[in-house]
């Protein structure tokens, strides 16, 4: 139930698990979590108030959604194998750090601007749309961008904010590693067609059905 995607969002709701596994489903989940450790996976619980598309359970009890996610983290090489480009990862990091610093909501224009500085304006537009479709971002009724269900399920925002707050500026890194080629020395950026960006996020976006 947790692995197979049924509908738009993966994972299972607490009432679905209760129906399938009985009242003691939490114990089953704890055992599953223990068993998944060997595979470097874990069961992640996400509260309903942070998941706008989750409705309360049939018996009115507080709704949770459970996912299975990677327990550890990916190395850059592994991340490349999943089809994600550095640009996409950097854009998502910039996006999330800005939204979190603004208490979970930010204007779309502001997000596109901060992503655009890293990956170009045109690509920023397509990436923002892709993040929206894949559930990393959500748009509220006032048109503000907020953190989406997938971010709650996949990202350790505290760790990300800590890393960004403690980071050294690029100049400091260049000083330490004189051999490294700085960003400004890179050739003019060639923007890619929208299809390429879409394809990179296909795995995530496909969850939207």
């Amino acid at each position: 139930m947790l692995f197979f995607k049924r509908g738009r969002v993966p994972g299972a709701r607490s009432w679905e698990l209760k129906t399938g596994l009985g009242k003691e489903y939490l114990k089953v989940l704890a055992q599953l979590d223990e068993a998944l450790k060997d595979l470097d996976l874990e069961v992640k619980k996400v509260e309903s108030q942070t998941l706008s598309d989750f409705k309360p359970g049939p018996d009115g009890e507080e709704e949770m959604r459970y996912f299975v996610r990677l327990k550890g983290t990916l190395t850059p090489k592994e991340a490349r194998m999943t089809g994600w480009r550095i640009d996409n990862l950097a854009a998502l990091a910039a996006c999330m750090s800005l939204i979190v610093s603004k208490q979970g909501k930010s204007e779309r224009k502001e997000l596109e601007q901060i992503i655009g500085e890293k990956v170009g304006r045109w690509r920023a537009l397509t990436l923002t749309d892709a993040f929206l479709r894949s559930g990393y971002l959500e748009e509220d009724e006032e048109g503000l961008m907020k953190i989406g269900w997938r971010t709650r399920a996949e990202l350790d925002l505290e760790s990300l904010m800590m890393l960004i707050a403690e980071s050294k500026p690029k100049g400091a890194i260049v000083e330490e590693e004189p051999g490294e080629v700085s960003e400004s020395a890179e050739p003019a950026e060639v923007e890619e067609p929208a299809e390429a960006v879409e394809a990179e996020l296909e795995d995530q976006a496909s969850t939207d059905g």
């Binding site: 692995f3 197979f4 995607k5 993966p10 994972g11 996976l41 874990e42 996912f67 299975v68 996610r69 990677l70 550890g72 983290t73 990916l74 190395t75 850059p76 991340a79 550095i86 990862l89 950097a90 998502l92 990091a93 910039a94 999330m96 750090s97 800005l98 979190v100 610093s101 603004k102 208490q103 930010s106 204007e107 901060i114 500085e117 890293k118 990956v119 006032e142 503000l144 997938r150 399920a153 996949e154 990202l155 350790d156 925002l157 505290e158 760790s159 990300l160 904010m161 890393l163 960004i164 707050a165 980071s167 500026p169 690029k170 890194i173 960003e183 003019a188 060639v190 496909s206 969850t207």
Partner: protein, 265 residues
């Protein structure tokens, strides 16, 4: 009279207050920029003078908006005391100063992708088969919509399809070659032609089309684009062409409406 003027200015003040609250809710301003006690004082000052339903509704909207701002202030304080608090300005500065590799690295250290599988199961296959067997045939379903009899298939010739823009009248390569020849005819003694003189056509759509074709000529090495300060020149090349001669640079050229107007006039 004075009472009426007071009501008008009171309405204006409340509307301004609501507008400020909305801007704060839309994250345009810091919620602490609004002086709540001053705002309450304004609401209280006018509360006695409201007589119509509209005025009372405005008063209620102002109080509700103010309550939302107080809520945001409270959330802001709670957030600032949490470990997630970082000043937005500082975050922007940090992100701007970091390389893409650095940012991607930080994301990877905090990223635990969800595992999800898509697969046919016995139950879902049975359900699908059941659905398929119960589904009415296409012709049965079509009858319900009452769309009338089928149109018999007709035939179209090539000029008609070209007029509908389904088919191109000329092959693309042929059109490029024609344009290169036209360019060659238009070059002056200097062996080049001004970009806008060549690209400009009688209407905007035709100009855009010519600009697009010229971009292919340059990319395929059939012409060269020379840029000197504000001026751009096109220089046609003679065969044999090779893509290696094509321009390695992308040069965005906006096409303003004014570029087309002189000829259109």
């Amino acid at each position: 009279m004075a009472e009426k003027t007071g009501r008008v200015s009171g309405r204006r003040e409340l509307e301004e207050l609501i507008q400020t609250c909305v801007s704060i809710e839309n994250r345009q301003f810091n919620p602490f920029l609004l002086d709540i006690s001053e705002a309450l004082r304004i609401i209280r000052r006018h509360a006695g003078s409201w007589k119509t339903l509209g005025d009372n509704l405005l008063d209620m909207r102002a109080i509700t908006s103010l309550a939302r701002v107080v809520g945001l202030q409270s959330a802001n304080l709670r957030f600032q005391s949490s470990s997630l608090f970082v000043d937005p300005g500082m975050v922007k500065q940090k992100v701007e100063s970091m390389s893409r590799e650095q940012l991607a690295g930080f994301l990877l250290l905090s990223w635990h992708p969800v595992v999800e599988l898509e697969q046919l199961t016995e139950a879902s296959t049975k359900e699908a088969l059941d659905y398929w067997q119960k589904m009415l045939s296409f012709f049965e379903r079509r009858k319900r919509l009452q769309p009338g009899p089928f149109d018999s298939p007709g035939a179209m010739d090539t000029p008609e399809l070209a007029r509908m823009r389904v088919l191109e009248e000329k092959a693309f390569g042929r059109r490029l070659e024609d344009l290169r020849r036209e360019m060659k005819e238009k070059i002056g003694e200097e062996g080049r032609v001004d970009y806008w003189t060549f690209v400009r056509a009688s209407n905007f759509a035709a100009t855009v089309l010519r600009a697009q074709m010229v971009s292919f000529l340059v990319s395929y090495g059939m012409a060269m684009l020379e840029r000197k300060k504000e001026k751009m020149w096109l220089i046609p090349r003679d065969p044999p062409f090779s893509t290696g001669q094509g321009s390695p640079l992308s040069l965005p050229i906006p096409i303003p409406m004014e570029a087309v107007l002189p000829r259109a006039k």
